[in-house]
């Protein structure tokens, strides 16, 4: 199955930002789709908590306790949305793309790829590396450009 980029269901989009997720069954590290689709079907507070964070980022909000990227060299394209469930630190990792370089260069889409529970203080470096790998993957890039055409 080809790589597919899907806008977050029920999510808000602006001229500047959008949140999406990647479906890529062949890649075992790409796990976000299952979580997002399952959460979206639920009617619990966890969905509201996460979708509110998506909205806040899309609106241009800044709040490290909800989401953030990394300034660290080599990991500039990695992004994370954070929330807690039953005292466990839930994390959705994503990759930042600028797919409309000609028509709207400021537009950023965060493509979520991985859901995991974080243990300890520091982010698993594998997630950051995976984000950069996906950023450079030609199939992913093409799928993002198809979902968010530069026209």
């Amino acid at each position: 199955m080809a790589v597919k980029i899907v806008p977050i269901p029920g999510g808000k989009g602006t001229a500047f930002r959008a949140v999406a997720y990647v479906i890529w069954p062949e890649d075992a590290d790409v796990t976000a789709a299952t979580t997002i689709e399952k959460l979206f079907k639920s009617d619990g507070g966890e969905k509201s908590k996460l979708w509110s964070r998506f909205d806040y980022w899309v609106d241009g909000g800044i709040k490290d306790s909800y989401f953030h990227g990394w300034n660290e060299s080599g990991y500039e394209h990695c992004f994370v949305f954070k929330w807690n469930k039953s005292d466990k630190m839930q994390r959705l990792y994503g990759v930042l793309f600028h797919p409309k370089r000609h028509t709207n260069p400021r537009f950023i889409v965060c493509v979520l790829f991985s859901h995991c529970v974080k243990f300890g203080k520091f982010t698993d470096p594998a997630q950051k590396k995976k984000a950069e790998t996906l950023y450079r993957n030609a199939n992913v890039k093409a799928a993002v450009e198809k979902a968010y055409p530069d026209k």
């Binding site: 269901p9 999510g11 689709e37 009617d43 507070g45 509201s48 909205d55 609106d59 709040k63």
Partner: protein, 174 residues
């Protein structure tokens, strides 16, 4: 995938309520961060446990108006309930974040009455226009003709009054 028209807050009143409550507590947290107020300090001011404050900040879905007022006042700020028309009748975009309203209000010089907000005109010692007749942003051509005629009549009264009073007359506020 579940089918949903428009924004996720269309799913239920509960979802919409969660979003606006989330926006409110995010505003509070930003204020607390800016002022260096820790949750235990806020709990002390409110006379509640730190756990209760954390519960409100982390799970704001069941906020009551009383709690909203109590938490805002504990941080020395006020709160308003604002109804607005953002031309999004199907709610494709969800609620407008209250920080946007607050920023616009601050940029407008923090008006605290209809006069200083330019919604009503008062003439010194003369005609006072009730805020009921405040101007509204109505797209060209969509203003009700009767309302347009009434507004024109009021404008005429106001400016006639100003002219009659010469230099000593003026508007308290424009």
């Amino acid at each position: 995938m579940a089918q949903l028209n428009g924004h996720w807050t269309n799913e239920s009143v509960k979802a919409f309520l969660y979003r606006i409550s989330f926006d409110f507590v995010t505003q509070l947290e930003n204020m607390m961060d800016a002022d260096g107020v820790k949750p235990n300090e806020l709990a002390k001011r409110l006379g509640v446990s730190k756990g209760r404050v954390s519960q409100i900040l982390n799970n704001p879905g069941n906020l009551t108006l009383r709690t909203v007022v109590e938490y805002a006042r504990a941080l020395d700020v006020k709160v308003a309930i604002v109804a607005y028309d953002d031309d999004d009748v199907d709610n494709d975009n969800g609620p407008v974040n209250p920080q946007i309203f607050a920023a616009c209000w601050e940029r407008s010089g923090k008006p605290t009455d209809f006069f200083s907000a330019g919604m009503a005109v008062a003439v010194t010692g003369g005609v006072e226009i009730d805020a009921r007749w405040s101007r509204r942003d109505v797209p060209a051509g969509k203003l009700d003709p009767e309302m347009a005629a009434t507004m024109a009549q009021i404008d005429s009264m106001v400016w006639q009054s100003v002219e009659d009073r010469g230099e000593n007359a003026g508007t308290d506020s424009d």
